[in-house]
Symmetry: C2
Subunit: 208 residues, 2 copies
């Protein structure tokens, strides 16, 4: 039995997309953000020692962290390698590369959010450059490719969707036509549309 | 042919540890940080579009990001699964979980560093709590275990070593006896000692 703790307007959304793409049965527990602060509610925080969404329970396993949940679900349930490149290929190495980049983009976005809220002094120049650095890299890497690794939709696309959707708040969208095309492709993927239905709405990240 | 671009006093060190543990042949290019700022030199930045260390070249593949490099090296060269739990086991899922936690701890440390350099206003409370949150989770998870997944030294330990070594700057060491024991175990591992030799010195993260 799989259960997913889902926080609205968060990186939880890409996990529902993957669960739908894999055609799995799961129970979804949807949590609203607190009015005002936008923080996660206490009931959600109680689900995991880190208090962060999403949380996936699969039998005795309790996992947080998008990349961990994505790799766990593919390891267990992607038995036909629909979303996982074959081992010992460059595609596999690029798949784990883009998973890692996704985590670093998340961190870059968080720095940008923090930078907006305070005064970072000498560090602001470094911080403010990070989101654009990653966006430029993704933009160039998408040139001539359907998905981030190549022709195959992989776990890396599920992972990367969220930091790109969020990061658009900090860049000029017009500078990134490949990323805009890529996100349109993601947001109209049949399993993504199902995820929108299941969660009663898509993502609205405008407040971050 | 494997080449590693190694920046002194950085997360590059754990990759040398893994290369030594796997017994691989590789060429090491060591870069000093710039005096004053401590930033990476331009020659290193030129090795990868993100300009970040470490960078691993393996044939035609060029990879940045510690977790990507670790997963690539294990996928290709850990043929006897010495450092990789078997697929479809809870140990495998916990291995990818701790890889992901390691990336998030890196991000938490970066927030702590930024917070030290500037004034984050209302956000400081959130930011300052993050490192301790992860340290508490690792501390509890190490209780009664040799390595972070269990009895087997895995890629997750290689990954986690650096954010813990760095994060000690932001916590009270005495609160974390399991982590202190775990880092001693890491820093006296035969392949880690070889990494120190190869790089002409261990890590000194005191300036961060």
């Amino acid at each position: 039995m799989i259960t997913l703790d889902y926080l609205k307007q968060s990186c939880s959304h890409r996990i529902v997309w993957l669960l739908e793409a894999l055609g799995l049965d799961y129970e979804l527990k949807i949590y609203d953000r607190l009015e005002g602060t936008g923080f996660a509610p206490e009931e959600l925080k109680a689900q995991h020692p880190l208090g962060k969404a999403p949380v996936l329970q699969d039998g005795d396993l309790v996992l947080a962290e998008g990349n961990a949940i994505i790799q766990h679900l593919l390891d267990r349930y992607d038995t036909e390698n629909r979303f996982t490149p074959a081992h010992k290929t460059d595609a596999y190495s690029n798949y784990v590369y883009w998973l890692a980049i996704s985590a670093s983009m998340f961190s870059a976005n968080l720095l940008a959010l923090v930078s907006k809220k305070g005064d970072l002094g000498d560090f602001a120049q470094y911080t403010d450059a990070q989101v654009g650095l990653y966006f430029n890299h993704v933009e160039q890497s998408l040139e001539g490719k359907t998905w981030i690794v190549g022709e195959q939709l992989t776990g890396a696309d599920f992972s990367l969707s969220f930091p790109l959707q969020w990061g658009l708040n900090y860049v000029n969208k017009a500078d990134y036509p490949n990323i805009v095309r890529y996100l349109e492709q993601i947001e109209t993927h049949p399993a993504y549309l199902k995820a929108n239905e299941k969660t009663a709405g898509g993502l609205d990240l405008s407040r971050f």
